[in-house]
């Protein structure tokens, strides 16, 4: 059978096909190798903390987890708790705190909000918070952090 003569178009198409195959193989190898390497790295990290408890794992990832656990252990489930009003990723991030303190109701704010809450009410002590006077017994975690059980008529 007679072989047809290669034209310019067919040569370009052939070159393009070869270039595509090279790109495909190189990208496939680099991508799969890089991806598997990263996934295996995470797997090894997981295997290392396989025996750790939930609290230990959370403590490693969320710096304030211990303090939130302290609040959970020292407040009843129907408590209303007043937090400082700094938000994202800080102690006053109510979105995050809700997850660990459910079904307690959490509020951020000042003495006006505090007075509107129904008992049992707790106020978080954290750094300069609360900047106003709160009457009631204190339950301290350490010298900086703790809780005040708000009892105005005590």
């Amino acid at each position: 059978m007679k072989k047809s003569k290669p034209t310019l178009v067919s040569t370009v198409q052939r070159a393009r096909h070869i270039l595509m195959l090279i790109i495909f193989v190189v990208v496939f190898v680099l991508h799969v190798q890089g991806g598997i390497h990263l996934i295996l790295g995470r797997l090894i990290q997981d295997l290392r903390e396989l025996d750790n408890s939930y609290d230990e794992k959370m403590r490693r990832r969320r710096g304030w987890y211990d303090f939130i656990s302290f609040i959970r252990e020292n407040t009843p489930e129907n408590a209303n708790i007043l937090f400082p009003s700094d938000n994202y990723e800080k102690i006053g991030d109510l979105g995050l705190n809700h997850y660990f303190l459910l079904p307690r109701r959490l509020y951020a704010g000042n003495q006006h909000i505090l007075r509107s809450l129904r008992p049992p009410v707790f106020v978080v002590i954290h750094k300069e918070f609360p900047p106003f006077k709160v009457e009631g017994p204190r339950i301290m975690k350490d010298s900086e952090k703790g809780l005040i059980h708000y009892r105005p008529n005590l």
Binding site: R14, R16, H17, L19, M20, L21, I23, F24, V27, F28, L30, H31, V32, G34, G35, I36, L38, I39, R42, L43, D46, E49, L50, Y54, K57, M58, R61, R62, Y88, E89, D93, L94, G95, L96, H98, Y99, L102, P103, R105
Partner: protein, 450 residues
């Protein structure tokens, strides 16, 4: 554990029964993937309604909701004269399918293992999705989202799904996302098989499975991966409709994009590219009814949720005002070019700067997929016409992404929004980029007889 397996089988059965309502030919890979995604969403939607009617969130209500959903589907099947479809679509598996199946199972198992071992710890997962899920589970009503969790105007598909899985403990909750990951891979591979991409399709699916960012999202309990599943599948089936003009695929795509609106707040914005391209197609073919038909299932999933947000929990989304303001600026050509330039530069850096490919600020990146897509696109620019609809959808998705960030930037925190969410928002259409690339490559392989 037995109850968990039963719930899982129930979800698959519900989803598969629903999928069989659409008279379209799907491979067994696709049916498995869709069965999970559709089954879970229908179950959460039913649970949402039962809770609105005052039913407590407990085992008996869930069983009742499951039976009602199943009865409705079977009734619809009977009406449409579709027989009870219990046969397993089993063709003799090819070697690449077997190898792929083993690798997918290994990657899926790794994702599942990581989900079980690592607690929920990232911000969105805890503050938005996890808190709402836990609140619905412990308070026993979907109205709990009014008092607990950030952003009450976010849809409830994932929180209700998480509430279902909280029955079995927190490790099981994150498994929802690992199963979505497997579902994405199955639908992706099954669809490529329909286009005859055997070996290249297997390689593409493997590339998707080990893409660091996709794998990362299968383990952190964000709603972006479920959204990616629904959106990716909706575009794939819309593209199939453009190929064979089968209304079953159009409606399947519509249901999937509608569930996207029930999964994430920006779901409605992601409907725009689909609807725009569908309208162009409908105008060309003079099929005026198609865009209207497409909106039907979307409204079924979107309207109850928006009524619930406005009138029951009285939450107002701040995005609506920003979107309207951004749209006004675009239409009056009063655009803040500095904002737009920042977004384009950020996009460029994520895609073309090699340092960002594997790890970006401690978060896993996209690997080599974006440069791969662009190089193949340039190489085969003469065939753009053949893939016009899919490429137009991807192009519009990128434009919509720019619009979303232009909107976010109006509040003055553009850089923060870009760094915390830009990659996540590309997760919706990222698998489509790989899908398109694999289609072009396997088409060329067939032509050259390789």
């Amino acid at each position: 554990m037995i109850l968990f397996v039963l719930l899982f089988i129930g979800i698959l059965f519900l989803g598969d029964s629903f999928t069989s309502l659409f008279k379209c030919k799907l491979s067994y890979w696709e049916r498995f993937g869709l069965a999970y995604g559709l089954g879970l969403a229908i179950f959460t939607f039913g649970t949402f309604f039962s809770s609105l009617l005052g039913a407590p969130f407990n085992k008996y209500t869930l069983l009742f909701v499951f039976l009602v959903c199943l009865t409705m589907i079977w009734y619809a099947k009977k009406k449409r004269q579709i027989g009870l479809d219990l046969k397993i679509y089993w063709n003799r598996p090819t070697i690449p399918a077997i190898i792929l199946g083993i690798i997918i199972l290994l990657v899926g198992f790794t994702s599942l293992f990581e989900s079980v071992v690592r607690p929920i710890y990232t911000w969105d997962a805890l503050a938005i999705w996890g808190t709402k899920g836990k609140a619905i589970f412990s308070v026993g009503s979907v109205q709990a989202v009014k008092d607990y969790g950030a952003k009450p105007y976010y849809p409830l598909n994932i929180p209700v799904a998480m509430a279902l899985f909280y029955y079995f403990g927190e490790p099981f909750v994150k498994s929802i996302f690992s199963f979505y990951f497997l579902a994405i891979l199955m639908v992706f591979y099954g669809s490529l098989k329909r286009y005859g991409c055997g070996y290249v399709g297997s390689a593409g699916t493997l590339m998707l499975a080990v893409t660091p960012f996709v794998f990362f999202h299968s383990t952190i309990a964000y709603a972006n991966l479920p959204m990616a599943f629904y959106y990716m599948a909706s575009v794939i089936y819309l593209y199939q409709f453009f190929q064979d003009n089968s209304r079953a695929f159009l409606m399947l795509s519509s249901v999937l994009v509608g569930i996207g609106c029930w999964t994430r707040a920006e779901g409605l914005i992601w409907l725009l590219p689909n609807l725009t391209i569908l309208t162009i197609y409908a105008l060309r073919r003079k099929q005026w009814l198609d865009p209207i038909l497409y909106l039907g299932p979307v409204l079924v999933f979107f309207l109850p949720w928006s009524v619930f947000t406005k009138y029951v929990i009285e939450a107002k989304s701040p995005y609506v005002g920003s979107v309207l303001e951004a749209a006004r600026q675009l239409f009056t050509l009063n655009i803040k070019t500095a904002h737009l330039w920042d977004i384009v530069c950020y996009f460029y850096r994520q895609i073309f700067i090699k340092e960002n490919w594997l790890v970006v600020r401690g978060v896993l990146g996209w690997g080599y997929i974006w440069p791969f897509f662009f190089s193949i696109l340039i190489l085969y620019c003469t065939r753009i016409r053949k893939y016009f609809y899919l490429l137009a959808l991807i192009g519009l998705d990128i434009l919509v992404l720019f619009f979303i960030y232009y909107t976010s930037g109006l509040g003055g925190r553009l850089n923060w929004f870009l760094e915390t969410g830009f990659n996540r928002l590309t997760l919706h259409f990222f698998p489509l980029i790989l899908f398109q690339t694999v289609l072009v490559i396997s088409d060329d392989m067939r032509r050259r007889g390789s």
